[in-house]
């Protein structure tokens, strides 16, 4: 599944002011993406950069794998409705459709006409005479009728009344379901986005604060309320996003950002590694007596231990937990190996505060799922593929370590490595004594 929009270190400066800076994003296809943030956070700038109306000051931006507005075929793949849904006031609705037909290679005249009559609009009416809601619907119709792969909407519903807003979103969702579009829309109206979006990007002060699938974000953020206390420290891997206090109560928004990589990255375990590496170097020097071979031997031994440790030794010291669950609603990768045409699936699995070690998709009989690539999943229809996968009654076997074991692991690990280092030290002393004798 390719990225709809991907940016790397993207920034845009207007004279002295940075409207967007250091924006790195990867938005997968098939989502309805909500872009939220206060006024002036850079939402419009980001969307204009994405469609090629603005050129970046720094960094790169790609839409559907190409440069925004880089070619005619690229332009045809992107539908865009700018802020306040602009139309030509002096032109009639029919004129707008004719204009669209002339300007877009993939124009679908049937779809455009059907939408206009469905909305109950008179094609002869001038766009300037339309209500705000009708104008928004016209702009959306134009963007949809060009049959884009991705639709970019800048605050499309901000100026609409609740009824028009609902009608607009109904149309948008129906089109999204029918044509399997990806949608990126900015909005202030969180209550509407809640129902519409399954992917969220939060921009604050020209930077990306949060980006991810809504389910994953909800699974990793917690609101905690309890008796008043100062939260100086939380267990490793938990961050406080915001804290508020009353006389008696403390309310925290906390984020759990535990990842398998954290095993070695934090805590006291690195002290053990360092002691071991040092002892290893000294031992190699004493035994080999020549710098380069000694360094090579040290490096080789250290790498071997660092590889063997997480793969074989650590799982034996503290066996991980294993659970069997049904295949998650979001499986993120379908891997089809091309020559043999076999396919395998990796599912996502969300559980707060665990280190995920492995995640395998298995059939009801317990075998790792792999099968001939089915036509349902090779085509463009994600829905057909999901439906097919659901019929296979797949489960995922997840191996993980609960976060509660973090410190147990840290001490265990440092102790083992320090003992190894000490043993090497003793070996050195013994060897030096022997040589002297």
């Amino acid at each position: 599944m390719t990225a709809v929009l991907s940016t790397k270190g993207l920034g845009k400066r207007y004279r002295r002011r940075w409207a967007l800076s250091d924006c790195t994003l990867q938005i997968p296809a098939g989502h309805v993406v909500g872009l939220v943030g206060p006024n002036g956070a850079g939402k419009t700038t980001l969307l204009n950069l994405a469609v090629g109306l603005l050129a970046p000051t720094e960094g790169t931006v790609e839409i559907l794998g190409g440069i925004p507005a880089g070619s005619n075929s690229q332009l045809a793949k992107v539908g865009f409705v700018a802020q306040d849904t602009p139309t030509y006031a002096g032109l009639s609705i029919a004129d707008h459709l004719r204009l669209g037909a002339h300007l877009n290679p993939g124009w679908d005249p049937g779809l455009a006409k059907a939408r206009i009559s469905q909305l109950g609009l008179d094609p002869e009416q001038k766009a300037g005479k339309l209500s705000g809601g009708q104008r928004a619907q016209l702009a959306l119709t134009l963007a949809i009728a060009k049959r884009p792969e991705v639709l970019i909407l800048d605050e499309p519903i901000a100026s609409l009344d609740p009824l028009a807003r609902r009608e607009f979103l109904q149309t948008l969702m129906a089109v999204t379901a029918e044509h399997e579009l990806s949608v990126v829309m900015s909005s202030h109206l969180v209550s509407d986005l809640e129902r519409i979006c399954d992917y969220l990007i939060v921009l604050v002060a020209s930077r990306v604060r949060v980006a991810g699938e809504v389910d994953a974000l909800l699974a990793s953020h917690y609101q905690v309320t309890g008796p008043r206390r100062d939260m100086e420290s939380l267990p490793a891997g938990w961050d406080i996003i915001s804290a508020s206090h009353t006389d008696r109560q403390t309310t925290l928004l906390v984020l759990n950002r535990l990842e398998p990589a954290l095993f070695g990255a934090r805590g006291v375990a690195p002290i053990g590694y360092a002691a071991f590496a040092l002892a290893l170097g000294v031992t190699a020097g004493v035994l080999i007596r020549r710098t380069v071979p000694a360094m090579a031997a040290t490096l080789a031994a250290f790498t071997a231990v660092q590889f063997a440790w997480p793969n074989w030794i650590r799982p034996h010291l503290i066996p991980p937990a294993v659970v069997r669950e049904r295949l998650g609603t979001h499986f993120n990768d379908l891997i089809v190996s091309q020559p043999g045409g076999r396919m395998t699936i990796t599912g996502t699995w969300y559980k707060a505060g665990v280190w995920l070690l492995s995640n395998q998709t298995v059939t009801p009989s317990g075998h790792v799922f792999t099968g001939p690539a089915t036509s349902a999943c090779l085509g463009n229809s994600t829905q057909a593929c999901i439906a097919w996968l659901a019929r296979q009654k797949l489960a995922q076997v997840v191996t993980y370590q609960p976060a509660s074991r973090f410190w147990a692991f840290q001490w265990y690990e440092s102790a083992v490595f320090v003992v190894l280092a000490a043993a090497l030290g003793v070996l050195c002393l013994w060897w030096m004594n022997r040589c002297r004798a």
């Binding site: 989502h31 609902r166 999204t176 379901a177 519409i196 399954d198 439906a387 659901a390």
Partner: protein
């Protein structure tokens, strides 16, 4: 065919609400084997929600073995949850209606009626257990 509705204030996530409504329709005999569920497009066009939400609900139902998707056609009910008691539903419903109207006459508002029913229901279950 059934029509879904969402209660934004219930605090129940939209996909769970869809599942509940299908299960309830199956239990009350509104949906039986072979009936088609609304297409994803129809549901999102009515409720203005994310298509993936509907897909998630339908997949869950499929996993429970209540419905099956036929590629390119739609999603169909494969199992019914209604049992032999279905015939008794009509008279019971009529009784309940009479009870509700007498509760109204006694001056109870919606919330009081719901509270009274829920409380009596719980108490009755407790007694049955004993």
């Amino acid at each position: 065919m059934i029509e879904f509705h969402l209660d934004a204030r219930s605090g129940v996530s939209p996909y769970l609400q869809l599942i509940q409504q299908v299960r309830q329709a199956l239990r009350l005999g509104f949906l039986t084997e072979g009936d088609q569920l609304p297409t994803v497009k129809d549901v999102v066009a009515l409720l203005a929600i994310n298509p993936n939400t509907v897909l998630k609900a339908y997949r869950e139902l499929e996993y429970e073995g209540l419905v099956a998707a036929r590629a390119g056609v739609g999603t169909f009910v494969t199992k019914t949850l209604a049992d032999g008691s279905l015939a008794a539903h009509g008279p019971l419903r009529a009784d309940l209606r009479r009870w509700i109207s007498s509760a109204r006459q006694a001056g109870l508002d919606d919330e009081s009626i719901e509270a009274l029913f829920a409380d009596t229901f719980r108490a009755a279950i407790k007694e049955e257990v004993r």
